[in-house]
C-alpha cells in the first residue's frame, strides 16, 4: 500500500527582546540559575504582569513578514495547568484573539513552488527549565527562562514531505533573523518545532489520525523524527492497527518516539481571558510604521541580486538564506563594487573556512569591509590571488585591515617589470638543461620556469606578467 503524509507545524520562537514579556528581567541565555528573576516572572503572590511593548512590535513585524492580517483588537488568555516549571500554574498566552492570522510563506522544493498557509501567530511567555540531578535524585527548577517572550507560529496542515518542512523552517528562520526578532538558535532552544503528522493510504480522502511530535530541536532531528513517525504510523496501519491521537516525544539519540499522553488524557487548559492585562488596540498607523521599518526580506533580496548583479540563482539562494552572509555580501560590496567577485569569495573561501573551523555563520568574525578591501587590492594588483587567499585565511580568524597587514608583512606584488625581467634572466641562465628541453619542444617546461621565478619573487608577482616575460625571453633565445 502507498501512503500520503500530511503535516502541520507549531514553531515556538524566542524573541530577542532585552527584557522579558511582563517584567524588566534580562532575557539573556545562560545566567546562573535563578539570577534573572523577580516576583513577577516567578509568579509570587500579588505580583502583576506589565506587557513589554517591544513584544507586540516584534509580533506585528513577524506578522507582516509572513503575510498575516494583524488583529487590531488583541487580548491575552490564561492557559491553566500544573507543572513545576510554570510558577503561576498558568501560562499567559493567546487563544481567542491571536495577534496575527491568515498568513503564508512560499517555499520551493526540487523546483516546485508551494505556499504554506499560516493559521495564526500568538504571543506568550516561556516556562522555566527543569534539571534532573541524578546524584541527589531530585529535580531542580531554573526560572531564568520564565517569562522570556515567545511567538508561536502555527501553520495549516499543508506539508506533504519532510523536505517541505525543512524548506519552510529554513525560510521561516531566515525571515525571523532578517527582521531582527529572534536569533533562532535551535541549540539554545530559541527555535523549537512541534510536528503534527498523519498518514493515509493513497486514494483515501479524509486525513488519518494525527500524532504530535514534541521536543525536536534541530533541522536534522526534525527530518529524522518525521521519517520515524511516518514509518511507525504506516507500520501500525499495515499491521491492522489504528493510530491513536496522542502526543509523542522524539528521542533523537535513540531514533524512536514515546507516547506522552493520549487524547483521553489530554489536559483541559481551562482557558479564559487574562484579567490582569488590558486588551491591546493596534492602530493602522502602528502597522504602517512597522511595515515601513521592515528591512528588505529574503525573497525581495534574492530577486534584486539576480536582476541587479546577474548572480547565479544557486549562489543567491545560499547568500540570501542567511542574514549573516547577506551582511558580509553587502558590506564587502559597498567597499569594492564587485558583486560577482564578492559572491565567489563567499561561496568559496568564506563557506569553506566556516565549515573547516566549525564556525556558525553568525559567529564569523571578520568585518565585511575588510573582504571588500582585499578584493580591491587584488583588482589593483597590489597582491595576487594566491596571496589574497592566504591573507584571507588569517583575516577570517583574526579580523584585521588587509591593507595594513600586507604593508606590515611586505606582501605587495613586484610590479616592476625590470625586476621581474632580471629574475627571469637569472633563472634561464641557471637552468640550461631546461632551456634545452624547451627548445626541444616541451612546452611543459615553461611551468617549471614560472615556478622558479615565483619562488625567487616570493610569490609576490603577478603570474600573468611573469608568464609573459618568460615566454618573451625564451622565444628570444
Amino acid at each position: 500500500m502507498e501512503f500520503l503524509t500530511t503535516m502541520g507545524l507549531e514553531v515556538h520562537c524566542e524573541l530577542s527582546t532585552k527584557t522579558k514579556i511582563f517584567c524588566s528581567c534580562s532575557t539573556e541565555f545562560g545566567g546562573e540559575p535563578n539570577t534573572h528573576v523577580c516576583e513577577v516572572c516567578t509568579g509570587m503572590p500579588g505580583s502583576l504582569p506589565v506587557l513589554n511593548e517591544q513584544v507586540v512590535e516584534y509580533a506585528i513585524r513577524t506578522g507582516i513578514a509572513t503575510n498575516c492580517t494583524i488583529t487590531k483588537y488583541t487580548k491575552f488568555d490564561r492557559k491553566n495547568y500544573f507543572y513545576p516549571d510554570l510558577p503561576k500554574a498558568y501560562q499567559v498566552s493567546q487563544l481567542y484573539l491571536p495577534i496575527c492570522q491568515n498568513g503564508h510563506i512560499d517555499i520551493e522544493v526540487n523546483g516546485v513552488k508551494k505556499s504554506i498557509r499560516i493559521k495564526e501567530i500568538h504571543m506568550e511567555e516561556d516556562a522555566g527549565k527543569l534539571i534532573h540531578d541524578p546524584w541527589e535524585d531530585c529535580t531542580l527548577v531554573d526560572y531564568n527562562r520564565c517569562g522570556v517572550p515567545l511567538l508561536e507560529i502555527v501553520s495549516e496542515p499543508d506539508f506533504e514531505s519532510g523536505e517541505e518542512v525543512i524548506a519552510y523552517l529554513t525560510k521561516l528562520k531566515s525571515i525571523l533573523q532578517y527582521i531582527g526578532v529572534s536569533d533562532c538558535k535551535m541549540e539554545q532552544g530559541s527555535l523549537r518545532a512541534d510536528v503534527n503528522i498523519s498518514v493515509r493510504p493513497v486514494g483515501q480522502k479524509e486525513l488519518g489520525t494525527r500524532t504530535e511530535m514534541k521536543n525536536i530541536n534541530s533541522f536534522k532531528a526534525i527530518a529524522r523524527a518525521i521519517e520515524g513517525e511516518r514509518q511507525r504510523q504506516i507500520d501500525v496501519i499495515e499491521d491492522g492497527g489504528k493510530v491513536i491521537q496522542e502526543t509523542r516525544r522524539w528521542d533523537d539519540t535513540k531514533g524512536i518516539s514515546y507516547a506522552m499522553r493520549s487524547k483521553e488524557n489530554a489536559q483541559d487548559y481551562r482557558y479564559f481571558p487574562e484579567p490582569d492585562l488590558v486588551p491591546i488596540e493596534i492602530s493602522d498607523e502602528w502597522i504602517e510604521r512597522v511595515k515601513n521599518s521592515l528591512p528588505e526580506l529574503p525573497e525581495e533580496k534574492k530577486a534584486r541580486y539576480i536582476a541587479e548583479y546577474g548572480l547565479p540563482e544557486y549562489d543567491v539562494d545560499i547568500i540570501t538564506g542567511s542574514k549573516y552572509l547577506v551582511r558580509i555580501f553587502e558590506g564587502a560590496l559597498e567597499v569594492c563594487g564587485e558583486a560577482k567577485e564578492v559572491s565567489n569569495w563567499i561561496m568559496g573561501e568564506v563557506l569553506r573556512l566556516a565549515s573547516e573551523t566549525s564556525t556558525d555563520e553568525e559567529n564569523i568574525k571578520f568585518a565585511p569591509e575588510n573582504l571588500g578591501k582585499l578584493i580591491v587590492l587584488i583588482k589593483k594588483k597590489v597582491i595576487n590571488r594566491n596571496t589574497a587567499k592566504e591573507v584571507f585565511e588569517k583575516m577570517f580568524s583574526e579580523n584585521f585591515d588587509p591593507e595594513q597587514y600586507i604593508k606590515d608583512n611586505g606582501l605587495e606584488m613586484v610590479n616592476d617589470d625590470g625586476a621581474v625581467l632580471s629574475v627571469v634572466k637569472s633563472v634561464i641562465e641557471a637552468n640550461p638543461k631546461a632551456v634545452a628541453e624547451y627548445k626541444g619542444g616541451s612546452a611543459k617546461v615553461k611551468g617549471f620556469f614560472v615556478g622558479q621565478c615565483m619562488k625567487q619573487l616570493k610569490g609576490k608577482a603577478d603570474p600573468a606578467t611573469v608568464n609573459k616575460i618568460i615566454a618573451e625571453e625564451l622565444d628570444k633565445l
Binding site: 513545576p84 527548577v141 481551562r270 490582569d276 488590558v278
Partner: protein
Amino acid sequence: MDLSKLTALEAGKLIKNKEISVAEITKAALDNIYKTDKNYKAFVTVCHDEALKQAEEVQKKIDDGTLTSPLAGVPMAVKDNMCTKGILTTASSKILTGFKPFYTATAVEKLEKAGGVLLGKLNMDEFAMGSTTETSYYGPTLNPWGENRVPGGSSGGSAVAVATEQAYYTLGSDTGGSIRQPCSFCGITGIKPTYGTVSRYGLLAYASSLDQIGPMGKNVEDVAEVLSVISGHDPKDSTSFNNESLKFNLENNVKGRKIGIPVEYFGKGLDADVKARVLDAAKKLESMGAVIEEFNMPELEYAIPTYYIIACAEASSNLSRYDGVKYGYCTPEFEDLTDLYCKSRSEGFGMEVKRRIMIGAFVLSSGYYDAYYKKALQVKAVIKNSFDRAFEKYDAILSPTAPTTALKMGENLSDPLKMYLGDIYTVSVNLAGLPSMVVPCGFDSNGLPVGLQLTGKAFSENTLMNIAYSYQQETDFHLKRPVLKKEMEA
C-alpha cells in the same frame, strides 16, 4: 487623654503640632492592641519592633520637614492579603504559612511614604472568600457590638481594628462587598473605589477583575484622606487607570443631589430594622435638600450567580500557584509530584476556598465555558449598562449594604448558599467596577449597627464622599462606639 479615641486626622494634627511624638502614639497603640485584641482577634500579626522603628524614622522626617502629610505618624494596619516586605503575609490561609514577601504592595508603600506607621496585619476570611471572617485559618474575629457576633467579611479584621479603636484607619479589599459589609456590621465608614483607582500590585488576588483595595475608618474625612494617598496610577498594575491620585473637597451640601433608590433592593429577604434605618437615612438626606426617587433595576436579580461564576473562575486560576513547592505550606510526606500538589493543597486550603476553586474549575472546563463563564461575562455587561442608565438620572444610588445586621457566629458557615445571598446588595457594584461607600445609619433592636450604601458612577468618589460627609455632619451614628472588653494592665 485616651489617644485611641482620636480620629486619624486628629491624631495627625497632634503629631504635627508636636503635642505628641510618633513613638508615643505608636507605643500607646501597641499597648492598646495587647490589652484589647485578645477579645476580638483582629490582628494576625502585630509588627511591634517594625512599628517602633518606623515611628522613629517618620518622626525624623516630620522634624526635618520632609513629611507633611496629615497622616504622617498615624498608626494604621492593613488586611493580611497585602504584601509587606519581610513581614508575614498569610491571607489568613494555612497554605501561606511562613510566607514573607520581598516586596510591598503599592497601596501600603504609598501609605508608608506618607508616614503611616504599620501596626500589623489584619485577619480576614481565607483569601477574602467569605463574609464573616470565620473562614480564617487563624480563627474568627469578633464583632465588638454584640456577644458572639461576626464582624462581617472578608475584611473583618480591618473593620474590627477600627471599631475597637486599635488602629486609626485600615485598608481592606473588596471583591464582592468585603469592605462595605464589615463596615456596615461594625458601624464604621469605608469605600470601595472605582476599579483601577488603587493599584492592586501586591494584593494577593482573589478575583483580579473585581478586587479593589480601599480605606476603612472612623469618618468620611479620614477615609477621604487615606484614599487620596493610596489612589493614582501605578505602572506596575496594567489595570490601574492613568489618573492622578484623587483629591477631595468636602462640603456639607446635598442640595439638589439626585439620589435613586432601586425598588428591588427593598423587597423580600431584607431585615425590617435594616430597611427602616436605611429609609430613615434617605429621609434625612431628603430633609437636607437631596432629591430622592425610586426606580427599577430588574437586572440586579442576576448579580449573585454572575458574580460567583466570574469570581470563582478567576480564583481557581489565581490560587493555582499555591502548590507547596516554592513557599508556604508543604505536606511533609508525598509519593510523587501529583501527590505533593494534591496533599499540599488539600491540607493547606480551607473548605470555602476549596469550594470556590472547584466551582471555578468547573465553569471554565471545556464544554461548560460557554454556558457559564461566557454567559456570566455577558450578564456582567448587562448589569453595567443598567447602572450606566441609572447614572444618567442620579448622582448616587442609595441602598442597604447587607440584608441583615451582624449575624451570630456559625450561622452562615454551614450554609454557603445563604451566605452567598447575603452579598446581594454589594456584588453588582464590583461587576460594574463602580465606587461604593458605606456610612453608619443607625442600629437595629439588638443594638447592632446598620450601614447605608451609596454607589456612584465610575470616578465619582468625590460626589459620594460629599454626600456621606454631609450626612455625617447632620447625624452622630458614626460617633457611637461599642463598649469594649479590655484586659487590665499588668
